[in-house]
């Protein structure tokens, strides 16, 4: 291949639209168009996100169809099971550049030719985590150049196959008001709360994420009854204690894309402001209600996991109902809230009693606990799982069921 005559063609697989566009901009601005994103069947190199739900299946398919195509695999894990160039998340610019060079070297090595099939395969897109110890290093790549309307861009592209449609749908759900029901709930089907490996898989540390810092700033504002300024995670965010709102730049939706990033606490500051400081929104700013913002942020950050140190067997009680008319209703949220209001129930028992996927319970719990709407009831007895006395079936259940169906149809 002659690098001077044509750019290296890259297929980005299993990635959501925002990540795809970020790569596109990276190739254009940082690599001076020496790489270009193309469809899988015309690519020289593929970059695959291995943290997606069907990533391994997608990779197997890809290898079957394009055995000689060098691959760059990006993942949170250290696992290196495939013959490929690996980048561990968080993705740093240097690591990505270096991996591209390595893949190019592989491309130039002679290989046996295997005919490629006609129909390419693209899997479900997971959310790519681009994490930086110093947020400044990712700002030019992630924040200034993100897609403003992923739906619009998706419509402009021609789908290459039915799989591509699936990918576009997935991209939409991850970048706009997410229908998080599509989180792969099968992952937690055989979850065992006594297995430390499984526990680690379904827990995350919110402290150094945007969620953690925002949460800290929000509750500081409420506790001190003063406005608070949060800096270092994006543009400055002011939390207005009295109205329980936040003042932020109008393009605040970019913040949700940062939910998976870790921020070094040395770069983040939370400053309590004098109440006389003018907090009127500027021309390019807007004011949002803080609770739905944090609720959504926690949902995005957790992706079906719970904060570290969550007790899976302690009964959870509902302290207050979320304002469901103004927040995203996670799957089964009303049922879970009603159960916990009536009878504190552990995460495991809730899933079992309501016959709902455990990850839906996790999702609701994580969002609710971020706002202190729920809390575990810790007693000496409930350190182990106890038998749950069933909530009595209402004598009018059938009619209620009918009414629910009717309301749904309306």
């Amino acid at each position: 291949m002659d690098n001077h005559t044509r750019p290296v063609k890259i297929a980005a697989l299993g990635m959501e639209q925002r990540t795809y566009s970020t790569l596109q901009l990276f190739f254009h601005e940082h690599c001076k168009d020496s790489y270009v994103l193309v469809e899988e069947n015309s690519a020289d190199i593929s970059i695959i996100d291995m943290d997606g739900f069907q990533a391994h299946r997608m990779l197997e398919e890809h290898k079957k169809h394009y055995p000689n195509q060098p691959s760059i695999l990006i993942s949170l894990s250290h696992d290196k099971a495939y013959d490929a160039v690996y980048i561990r998340k968080p993705i740093m610019l240097e690591a990505l550049s270096s991996a591209l060079l390595k893949a190019k070297e592989r491309l130039q090595q002679p290989v046996a030719k295997v005919p490629a099939p006609e129909v390419p395969t693209v899997g479900i897109a997971p959310q790519l985590q681009i994490v930086a110890s110093n947020p400044e290093t990712v700002t030019p790549l992630l924040l200034n150049n993100v897609v403003h309307n992923p739906h619009k861009i998706a419509r402009q592209e021609k789908p290459a196959s039915k799989h591509f449609n699936q990918y576009r749908y997935s991209a939409n759900f991850l970048t706009e008001d997410a229908d998080l029901e599509h989180i792969n709930t099968k992952l937690a089907e055989n979850f065992n709360p006594d297995n430390p490996i499984q526990i680690a898989k379904f827990q995350y540390q919110p402290e150094q994420t945007l969620q953690g810092y925002f949460q800290q700033a929000y509750f500081t504002a409420l506790q001190k009854q003063q406005n608070v300024l949060l800096k270092g995670v994006w543009r400055p965010i002011t939390i207005l204690h009295e109205s329980k709102q936040l003042r932020v730049e109008k393009n605040f939706r970019h913040l949700y894309a940062l939910s998976g990033m870790l921020f070094d606490k040395s770069n983040v500051s939370i400053t309590v402001l004098d109440n006389n400081v003018d907090c009127e929104p500027g021309l390019h700013e807007t004011v949002l209600p803080a609770e739905p913002f944090l609720w959504k942020l926690a949902m995005r950050t957790s992706r079906g996991r719970v904060p570290a140190n969550t007790n899976f067997t302690a009964p959870i009680k509902l302290i207050r109902w979320p304002n469901f008319t103004r927040t995203i209703i996670t799957p089964h949220a009303l049922r879970i809230a009603a159960l916990w209001a009536r009878q504190p129930t552990s995460l495991m028992d809730t899933a079992s009693y309501l016959a709902v996927p455990l990850q839906h319970v996790f999702m609701f719990y994580t969002a609710a606990v971020s706002l202190n709407f729920v809390a575990p009831v810790i007693t000496e007895e409930n350190h182990s799982t106890t038998a749950l006395p069933p909530v009595k079936r209402h004598r009018y259940r059938k009619i209620f069921q009918n009414l629910l169906e009717r309301l749904r149809n309306n």
Binding site: W321, A338, A341
Partner: protein, 181 residues
């Protein structure tokens, strides 16, 4: 055919008639009269007997939605209205001088019925007056040891009213299955 009923209550102007209209099959039968007293300052007509609407269900069953008159002097109707009811929807007007006092009044008046069934609370007019906020309502209720679904509601929106009813139904029986999950 079996008949069931949900009661909508709350102070005058809270949106009971509107809420019932937003979800029932046909425009509800309303016994609104031209207000001739202090109520007139809030709205031109007020309900003196009750609002009534129906929702037809599969299998021939029928859900009746009753709205209580907003004026306290008609409270003799309430016992009759709640008899045989499956739950209570309380609507509060956030622009009134003391919505907590309203809430306490209605919780007290319907205490027996609530103890036997469940309640969901919708706060209306929050777009016109944002304080007290939903959190303040919860804080007020928590002092009484109550955990009740309270939502910011636009009574004109079917979706908001529908959500209130869903919260009421799940509070009555969390084991219900939501088919759209």
């Amino acid at each position: 055919m079996t008949n069931y009923k949900i009661i909508f209550t709350g102070p005058v102007g809270a949106g009971k008639t509107t809420a019932i209209s937003s979800i029932c099959d046909r425009p509800p039968v309303s016994t609104d009269k031209i207000a001739s007293d202090m109520t007139r300052a809030v709205k031109k007509t007020t309900t003196v007997a009750c609002d009534y609407g129906t929702v037809r269900l599969n299998g021939g069953d029928c859900l009746h939605l009753y709205g209580t008159p907003g004026q306290e002097r008609f409270d003799f109707m309430w016992d009759i209205l709640v008899s045989g009811g499956i739950g209570l929807v309380l609507l509060l007007d956030n622009t009134r001088p003391n919505p907590f006092q309203d809430m306490d009044f209605f919780l007290d008046q319907f205490q027996d019925f609530i103890n036997q069934t469940q309640i969901a609370i919708g706060v209306t007019q929050m777009d016109r007056k944002s304080a007290p906020c939903i959190d303040d309502y919860h804080n007020h209720l928590s002092k009484q040891g109550l955990t009740i679904p309270i939502f910011d509601v636009d009574a004109r929106k079917r979706q908001d009213v529908s959500l209130l009813i869903k919260a009421l139904l799940f509070s009555l029986d969390p084991g219900l299955i939501e088919n759209n999950d």
